[in-house]
Amino acid sequence: MTAAAIGTEAAATTTRTGKPTGRDIRTALGFLAPSLIGVIAFLLVPVVVVIVLSFVKWDLLTPPSFVGVSNYIDIFRYDAVGHSLLVTAYYVLLNIPAQTVIALGLAVLLNRKLPGTSFVRVLCVLPYLATPVAMAVVWNWFFDPSTGVINTLLGFVGIAGPSWLSSQVWAMPVVAFANIWQYVGYNMLFFLAGLQSIPASMYEAAAIDGASRIKQFFSITLPLLRPTMLFVLVTGVIGSFQVFDTVYVLTNGGPGDATEVMNSLIYKSAFVGFRIGDAAAMSVVLFVVILVVTIVQFGYFRNRTTYEMN
């Protein structure tokens, strides 16, 4: 077995050649049936309905009326969807690189059998387990401008900290920080699982060849983590584009519209304004953006699949 065979999209196909037989197809269908039914009934059908809804005006209770593409025009004119897309992209850029690097670092650091590591691993994942309703008070303890932990600590060294969450400059980094704190341990789990599937023999062979540990990391660990990396990045980016809870709890989109990410706008349109058509149109726009970004990511990973060990 070569390293190239592991962790590439090419490995997706079995090594048998030839056309799949009828029996192959029946088997596959049997395996797929439950999840396929679930996906169609609870995701695809609702999504198709949402696409239809994006062309109507509807408040949930009075009869809907068809309005063509005017929702798509209105949301850019009156809901500042363009601005919100930029805000969302800014959030993704703040969030994803830092989160991925820290998660990978934590996984490498904690993937060893020294006393204490598994305890710290649990601690890292704690925030992910937490019930969202309690987070509001927790963040207030940290970021409150007068009594919060951060500004109190800054005060000890003579710095007057800002009002973090009402500052145009700081609000978004704080939201990103809170989200990284909450999900970095969760992403670490995937890297841990990935690291554990790398055979030790590869490192031993490389060490005998005289490769330094840093070189080993880049020539063995990273390439072999590629499927994990693809998963963490793709789902991380998709999730970041849909960030909502943290924003809702911390800033509710403020100050002004500085943290008004797409999902926050969609939520307000749908459940404060009951403008279902507008909310549906915004969802479609966001969906298209995420789809394009995801295709680009897959393309990137597919184009970089060959690397040999020896």
Binding site: F119, V137, E204, R213
Partner: protein, 301 residues
């Protein structure tokens, strides 16, 4: 650099896993590295633990003290009043029971069905596989705030609103996320094993359940934890999909303590800690399993 000094920072994980079994020479360099390692662990632990220590501390305080004290001011007594009030409050036991029931159903179903789907995508051949996979993947990209509305209407049409079915059905038949997660993992497993099994005449079901599942335990555990945590903390859908308090889940119960006339943070915090405990216990058990299953995942022994 020799092979024996590999078990240090940023080094080969599989090799380090063997450390306790190997005679180690204590060198000054190793001691320094250990000290740095534990300092790092301490910092990480503080970053992640402090908010929970604050929460735990505050959960012993009366509401007025929570709001007027600093977070780090210790509670004056270990009064369990808040916990008692939450536990004896109307319906908390019912809510918890509902959450447990729904979560167990969702976890079992989601893991099993997603596993089957993931296997098909990773290891079986059928026409349109890549297109279908992209369909699954694209379903992840849809903002669920809005799809909840058609889902609600759909559930209403099926007369399932305000029943347990509405709570678990949408998440039990497998999710694109879990399928994607496990597919990625199956891709990393060497195909030689499967080929050998196929040549021996094993059915695909037998290959999946007898060979792949034991190999894939870390990822199955991960998927199970994700399903469990998702269902345990799910809020908006259970709130919308059920009316009667008999069917409410614990997150909705906690949210009821927040009103526009001031939130009872003492109860919210105590309740959140109570709700967190089962998750932490389960996670502690299973995360050890992830580590211990290393020996099962290796193919080179």
């Amino acid at each position: 650099m020799t092979a024996t000094s590999a078990p240090t920072l940023a080094a080969a994980p599989r090799a380090t896993a063997d450390v306790p079994h190997r005679p180690t020479r204590i060198t000054p360099g190793r001691v320094v590295r250990l000290v740095i390692f534990y300092l790092l662990l301490l910092i990480i632990a503080l970053v992640f633990l402090t908010p929970y220590l604050f929460s735990l501390n505050a959960s012993f305080k009366p509401l007025a003290a929570i709001l007027s004290d600093h977070a780090w001011t210790p509670a004056t007594s270990l009064s369990l009043t808040n916990f008692k009030e939450v536990l004896t409050s109307n319906g908390f036991a019912t809510y918890l029971g509902n959450t447990v029931l729904i979560t167990v159903i969702i976890t079992v179903g989601q893991v099993l069905f997603s596993l089957m789907g993931a296997y098909a995508f990773a290891r079986l051949r059928f026409p349109g596989r890549d297109a279908l996979f992209w369909l699954y993947l694209s379903m992840l990209m849809v903002p669920n705030v809005v799809t909840m509305i058609p889902l609600y209407v759909l559930m209403d049409g099926a007369h399932l609103l305000n029943t347990y079915w509405a709570l678990f059905l949408p998440y039990t038949l497998g999710t694109p996320y879990a399928v994607f997660l496990m597919r990625q993992y199956f891709l990393t497993l060497p195909s030689e094993i499967l080929e050998a099994a196929r040549l021996d005449g094993c059915s695909e079901a037998r290959i999946l359940f007898r060979i792949l599942i034991p190999l894939a335990r870390p990822i199955i555990t991960t998927a199970a934890i994700i399903a469990f945590v998702f269902s345990w903390n799910n809020f908006l859908w259970p709130l919308i999909a059920t009316n009667s308090s008999d069917l409410q889940v614990v997150t909705v119960g906690l949210a009821n303590l927040q009103s526009n006339f001031g939130t009872q943070w003492n109860l919210v915090l105590a309740g959140s800690i109570l709700v967190l405990i089962p998750l932490v216990v389960l996670f502690v058990i299973f995360q050890k399993q992830i580590v211990n299953s290393i020996s099962l995942t290796g193919t080179n022994r």
